[in-house]
Symmetry: C2
Subunit: 234 residues, 2 copies
């Protein structure tokens, strides 16, 4: 019997090949880490019906045979449990707990700092039907117009590089957040860099930033999965 097919519902832009969601990138890297191939199914914010089977309205959603799993963190746990003999995403219960802190840092501090650089670029990638929702929800979150959030982009880039200090500081001591090889703690941070790479012409890092080498290795991982992603303007 063939193994059940894996389908990953991923946020897509007006160009359905633009897959920019940082949370979907976490799931995509986690799948690749386990040696799994999933069909990437493009999804837009307006397509609630398309994922209503999942019981909620956001991607990533992973479908595995008759199972569906939502939220990137739960997808990672699901993969770790079900494919436990493949390379570990966490490396044990204790590392899973500390990885959750890394994930929280990525989802709060880092996501906000990256958003303040690329928010209008993200908007410009979106399908026309998604733009109204995105503008309204993000302008409510930031308390100002999208254009005002990114208005002083050089200053916001400096803020972002300050926010990235813990990563640069750590990379002087070890090659990856997970140690000598990447794992989920790296992917949850790397997802934020993929968000910017796919949507925006701005490079978040100066060429001499120690984070560049880490990012390069993750772009090259799994046969260049991330490096080959379709990017805006490419």
């Amino acid at each position: 019997m063939a193994a059940p097919e894996l389908i990953l519902y991923e946020l897509a832009g007006a160009n359905p090949e633009l897959r920019f969601s940082p949370h979907c990138w976490k799931a995509r890297m986690a799948l690749a880490h386990k040696g799994l191939q999933a069909v990437g199914e493009p999804w837009r914010f307006a397509e609630k019906d398309k994922i209503s089977f999942s019981g909620q309205g956001l991607v990533p959603v992973l479908v595995h045979g008759n199972e569906s799993v939502s939220y990137s963190w739960r997808i990672a746990l699901y993969l770790e449990e079900l494919f436990s003999t493949d390379p570990a995403l966490f490396g044990g219960k204790d590392a899973m707990s500390t990885t959750r802190f890394v994930n929280s840092w990525a989802d709060t501090t880092l996501l906000a700092a990256v958003a303040k650089v690329i928010l209008v670029d993200v908007y410009n990638c979106l399908d026309g039907n998604d733009r109204g929702y995105f503008r309204a929800s993000r302008e409510k979150r930031f308390g100002m117009a999208l254009e005002a959030v990114v208005a002083d982009q050089p200053a916001r880039l400096l803020d972002l590089r300050m926010a990235l200090q813990p990563l640069g500081h750590m990379l002087r001591k070890q090659e990856f957040i997970s140690g000598s090889a990447p794992a989920y703690a790296d992917y949850c941070v790397f997802g934020m860099f993929m968000w910017a790479r796919v949507c925006s012409p701005v490079d978040l890092l100066e060429p001499d930033d120690p984070i560049v080498a880490w990012r390069e290795q993750l772009l090259d991982a799994f046969g260049g999965l991330a490096r080959s992603a379709v990017c805006v303007g490419a």
Copy 2:
């Protein structure tokens, strides 16, 4: 044969009972986690001779029989290796790597954000012989007078609470950074809170902050080791 005595050289204030260094608190909590008691030896910045045996000029320095170990991270690794049958500080190699990220976050983002609230309070705790060094080195680091760093304390407290977002966000999902029980990842963050508790009358957290419950549990840990610390003005 009796076990060799443990001595922890700790930064102290004008009142030698004031032990406020966040890095020394990391080491003190790590020792307690392993069920070890160390004699706390007060040390001031001006007393380089007193720790010259360690080959460097900062505390914490742990002396264990004929061995001496410097830097809080290396002290934690030393304890984990030597007392490997006692409760784990890291919970394995993978958790040690991700804990290093937590430690980097504490030492960069969090330390800077706390400093911007309490820097003058720290200065006021110091012995007269330490004040010149402290003022010169910290004013160089921050690029302004100590008093200017903390001048708008309400704004700096808001910045700090924003910097603490990853911790608050994570604590909605699990009780400690290390999972269901505290370990080194918690202590390296908690050290920053002890720094403020010992030196400053300012409470870093609002009473309804979810981080308060976490901090309370760590204050109570090991028979109230941290809660019983001598604080300024107490």
